[in-house]
C-alpha cells in the first residue's frame, strides 16, 4: 500500500510554491541586471512590434528606444507595461500546479506567448485611446487593461489545467 498524501497537503504545497515563486520572480525582475538585460530589451521589442502593428493599421507610428509615438500622442513603454509581471504570476501558477515537466513546459510556452500577444494588443489599443480619447487613457492604462490582462492569465491557467494536464495528475 503506497503512501497517500492528503489532498489538503498537496493544496498547501501548491499555495506555498506559488507564493514563493511569485516573490522570487518579482524580486528577480526588480534587480538591475534583469531590468537591463531582460525587461528593457523586451520593452524595446514591444515598442518596435507595436510601431509595426500601428503602421500596418496606418497610424504612422515612430519608435525611439522605448518611446512609441503616433500623431499627437507619445508613450514610453516601461518594464511593467511589457506584461512581464503577469507572465511571472502565470509562470508561478503553472509551476505550483501538480503536473508533469512536459506539461508545465507546454503551459509556460503557450500561456506566456498568449499573455504577451494580449499585451501587444493592449499597447496598440492604448496608443489609439491616447490619440483619440486622451481623457480615458489613464483609466484604460492603469485600471481596465491591467485587470483584463490578469484575468486573461487566469483563464489561460484554467485552460492549461483542463486541456494539457493529464487526468492522473488531478
Amino acid at each position: 500500500m503506497g503512501l497517500v498524501i492528503p489532498q489538503r497537503l498537496l493544496l498547501m504545497k501548491a499555495y506555498v510554491i506559488f507564493l514563493a515563486c511569485i516573490l522570487f520572480l518579482y524580486t528577480l525582475l526588480r534587480t538591475s541586471m534583469v531590468r537591463e538585460y531582460v525587461a528593457e530589451p523586451l520593452a524595446v521589442a514591444f515598442a518596435s512590434v507595436g510601431a509595426l502593428a500601428l503602421n500596418l493599421l496606418s497610424q504612422k507610428a515612430t519608435v525611439s528606444g522605448t518611446l512609441l509615438s503616433v500623431e499627437g500622442f507619445s508613450a514610453t513603454i516601461d518594464d511593467v507595461c511589457t506584461g512581464i509581471f503577469v507572465v511571472a504570476i502565470y509562470l508561478s501558477a503553472v509551476l505550483a500546479y501538480p503536473s508533469r515537466p512536459m506539461e508545465k513546459l507546454k503551459g509556460l510556452v503557450l500561456g506566456a506567448s498568449g499573455i504577451l500577444i494580449l499585451n501587444l494588443i493592449r499597447v496598440v489599443s492604448l496608443m489609439y485611446i491616447g490619440r483619440y480619447l486622451p481623457n480615458f487613457f489613464e483609466t484604460a492604462h492603469l485600471l481596465v487593461w491591467q485587470s483584463l490582462v490578469i484575468f486573461s492569465a487566469f483563464l489561460a491557467w484554467l485552460y492549461w489545467t483542463e486541456r494539457f494536464v493529464g487526468a492522473p495528475q488531478h
Partner: protein, 554 residues
C-alpha cells in the same frame, strides 16, 4: 472544441460584459468609497498615532494625506496622495463573483460580501502602511534596509498583488461553491448525463462517511456498523459510549434529551454528530450515513442544510417504537433518504417522506465467520440469543410445554436478562443454561452445538441473532412479527403467531422430532443467510448512495 473550453469562453464573455457594465459605476462610487476608507483609516490612526498629526481625506478619486505640524493648530499641508489604482480591484472582484452561472444568489451575495470585506481590509492596511511612503521621496526610503523592504513590499502590492488578490480570494472562496468554469463537476444538474460520475462517483463509496456509535452488545462480527468494511469510511466518534455511567453521566444525558427532545439521544451521540457536522462543513458532495438514525440523529440534519452534502439514516426500530422515539417529520425532513431494514417499517415513513426517498435494504451477516459446524449436533439443544423486544412470558410458557412432551430438551439462553426478567427468574432448571459475555468464537460454538434457534419476539424488524443463527445453518422457530417473515422466508423455519406459546412449543417439537425436516430447514436457512452477506447487501447500499448522489441536492 472541448465542452470545458466552451464553458471557459462563456465565462470570459460574461465577465467582460459585467466588467464593462459596472465600470462606470465604479467612477460614481469611488469618491464615496475613498471617504469611507479615509474615515476608517482616521479611526485607526487616532488610536495608533501619538500625537495625532495625520488625517486622511477622501478627495475625488484619491485620498489626500493632510499633516499638521502641531496637531490641528498651525496650518495644515497636503503631503501626498494615494491613488485610486489599488482600489480598482473591487471591480475585478465583483465581476469574478457575478460571472459564473448557476449559483444560488444567497451564496453569491455571501461570497461577494466576504470578498469585498477582505479587499476593504486590504485597502485599509495598504493605506495605513503606505502613509509613510506617500509622505517622503522614494530615494529617502532607500537609505536603510527596512526602507528598501518597505518600498519593495509596496511596489509588489502595486504591480502584482493588488490585481492578483481578487483572483486568489475568488478561488479560495469558490472552492466551497465549486463553480470555476471548466473545472470539476458543473453545479447542480447542468450537463450531467445519467450515470455521469465525476468527483461524486456514486459507484465508489470514497465520499461516503458512516456516522454512528457501535452497539456494545453486538458481537464484533455482527452489527450494522460492520458495513463500514464494505462501504464508505467510518468517522471516528469522540467517545466510544453513548450514555456512560454514573450520576454525572445520567444528569448530562437528561439535559441532552431534554434539549433535543429526543428520548433516546445521548451525549455520545451528540459528540459523534458534532464531529461529523464539523467534518461535513469541510466537505462537499459527500454522503453521510447515520447508521443508527433512531438514536443518533439530531444535529446532522441542520448541518446538512448548511452544506452541499447528502444525509442518509438507517432506522432499525419497529414502527411502534419509532413513534415512541419521536422519529417524526421534524427529525426526518432534512434527510435525503432513509434506509429501512424491514418492509414492515415503511408504514411509519409513508407520511413523513416521499416514497422515492425511502429505501428498504436488509441487514447483513458475516456468513464467513458464522458458518455451520462440520458435524451437526445430535443433542436436543435449543438456543435463544438476545433480550431486546423478546416475549419471555410466552417463551417460558413454551419451554414448560415442551418439557411436558420431551423432558430431555435443553436450552441455552445467551445474553438474556435472566436476573431482571421475572419470567426468566422463575425458569430455574438444570436444563436451562444462561450464558453471558461470550466471545465471538464462543457464541459461534454455541450456535453450532445447538439443534435449532428459538426467537419469541414481542416486535421485530431484523435481528442480529436471527441472522447469525441462520448463517450457522440452524432451523428457526420464531414469532411471525415485523420483519421476521421477510428475512426467514418460507423454508428456513417455523413461524408462530405472536404471544402463542402453544404454537411456539409445537414448532420446536416438530423440528426436533423430524430430522429430515430439520436438515431441509438448516440448508434453506444457510442458503438464505448467504444472500445477506455484508458484501452483497453493501452493493444494495451503494445503489442507494448512487441514487441519492445523482438526485439534485434540494
Amino acid at each position: 472544441m472541448l465542452p470545458n473550453t466552451k464553458a471557459l469562453l462563456a465565462f470570459a464573455g460574461r465577465f467582460l460584459l459585467i466588467f464593462i457594465f459596472i465600470l462606470p459605476l465604479w467612477f460614481l462610487l469611488t469618491p464615496a468609497y475613498n471617504r469611507l476608507l479615509a474615515s476608517s483609516a482616521n479611526i485607526v490612526l487616532s488610536l495608533v498615532e501619538d500625537p495625532h498629526v495625520t488625517t486622511l481625506v477622501g478627495w475625488r478619486r484619491n485620498i489626500a494625506i493632510v499633516r499638521a505640524e502641531t496637531p490641528f493648530r498651525k496650518g495644515v499641508k497636503v503631503q501626498g496622495f494615494t491613488g485610486y489604482l489599488t482600489h480598482f480591484n473591487f471591480i475585478l472582484m465583483t465581476a469574478l463573483v457575478l460571472a459564473p452561472r448557476r449559483i444560488d444568489w444567497r451564496r453569491r451575495c455571501k461570497v461577494l460580501a466576504i470578498a469585498l470585506g477582505i479587499l476593504f481590509v486590504t485597502h485599509l492596511l495598504y493605506l495605513l502602511i503606505g502613509l509613510k511612503f506617500f509622505q517622503q521621496p522614494e530615494l529617502e526610503a532607500f537609505q536603510s534596509l527596512a526602507g528598501r523592504l518597505y518600498v519593495w513590499g509596496l511596489n509588489l502590492y502595486l504591480s502584482v498583488a493588488s490585481q492578483l488578490f481578487p483572483v486568489l480570494i475568488w478561488m479560495a472562496l469558490y472552492r466551497t461553491v465549486r463553480s470555476i468554469p471548466g473545472r470539476g463537476p458543473v453545479p447542480e444538474s447542468e450537463n450531467a448525463p445519467e450515470g455521469d460520475t465525476g468527483e461524486s462517483d456514486p459507484n465508489s463509496s470514497k465520499n461516503v462517511y458512516l456516522v454512528g456509535l457501535r452497539q456494545r452488545h453486538h458481537a464484533s462480527h455482527s452489527g450494522y456498523e460492520r458495513f463500514s468494511r464494505y462501504v464508505g469510511t467510518t468517522l471516528k466518534p469522540p467517545l466510544n459510549f453513548r450514555r456512560g455511567s454514573g450520576a454525572l453521566a445520567g444528569l448530562v444525558n437528561r439535559v441532552v434529551t431534554a434539549v433535543t427532545r429526543h428520548p433516546r439521544y445521548s451525549i455520545g451521540a451528540l459528540l459523534t454528530e458534532g464531529a461529523a457536522a464539523f467534518h461535513m462543513l469541510r466537505h462537499r458532495d459527500a454522503l453521510y450515513h447515520v447508521i443508527y438514525g433512531d438514536s443518533d440523529l439530531w444535529l446532522l440534519g441542520y448541518a446538512r442544510l448548511r452544506t452541499r452534502n447528502r444525509l442518509v439514516a438507517t432506522f432499525h426500530e419497529p414502527p411502534a417504537f419509532l413513534e415512541r422515539f419521536a422519529i417524526d417529520r421534524q427529525r426526518t425532513k432534512n434527510l435525503d433518504a432513509v434506509v429501512l431494514v424491514a418492509e414492515s417499517q415503511r408504514v411509519h415513513f409513508e407520511g413523513l417522506l416521499p416514497p422515492w426517498r425511502v429505501f428498504v435494504v436488509p441487514h447483513g451477516v458475516d456468513t464467513d465467520f458464522f458458518c455451520p459446524p462440520e458435524r451437526i449436533s445430535d443433542q436436543q439443544v435449543c438456543i435463544a440469543v438476545g433480550g431486546k423486544l423478546r416475549d419471555f412470558e410466552t417463551f417460558t410458557l413454551a419451554i414448560n410445554l415442551i418439557w411436558r412432551v420431551d423432558p430431555s430438551v435443553r436450552f441455552v439462553l445467551v445474553g438474556t436478562p435472566h436476573t431482571k426478567d421475572a419470567h426468566l427468574r422463575r425458569l430455574r432448571d438444570e436444563r436451562v443454561h444462561f450464558r453471558r459475555g461470550l466471545s465471538d468464537e464462543e457464541l459461534r460454538r454455541a450456535y453450532q452445538t445447538s439443534k435449532l434457534a428459538v426467537f419469541s419476539f414481542r416486535d421485530s424488524t431484523v435481528n442480529n441473532a436471527l441472522l447469525e443463527a441462520m448463517a450457522c445453518g440452524l432451523p428457526i422457530v420464531a414469532t411471525d412479527v415485523g420483519g421476521t417473515r421477510q428475512y426467514l422466508g418460507g423454508e428456513s423455519g417455523v413461524l408462530c403467531p405472536p404471544g402463542d406459546a402453544d404454537a411456539l412449543a409445537a414448532g420446536v417439537l416438530q423440528v426436533l422430532a423430524d430430522p429430515a425436516l430439520a436438515t431441509r430447514m438448516a440448508a434453506a436457512s444457510r442458503a438464505r443467510a448467504l444472500g445477506y452477506h455484508y458484501r452483497i447487501v453493501a452493493d444494495q447500499l451503494r445503489q442507494v448512495y448512487s441514487k441519492v448522489l445523482l438526485t439534485g441536492h434540494d
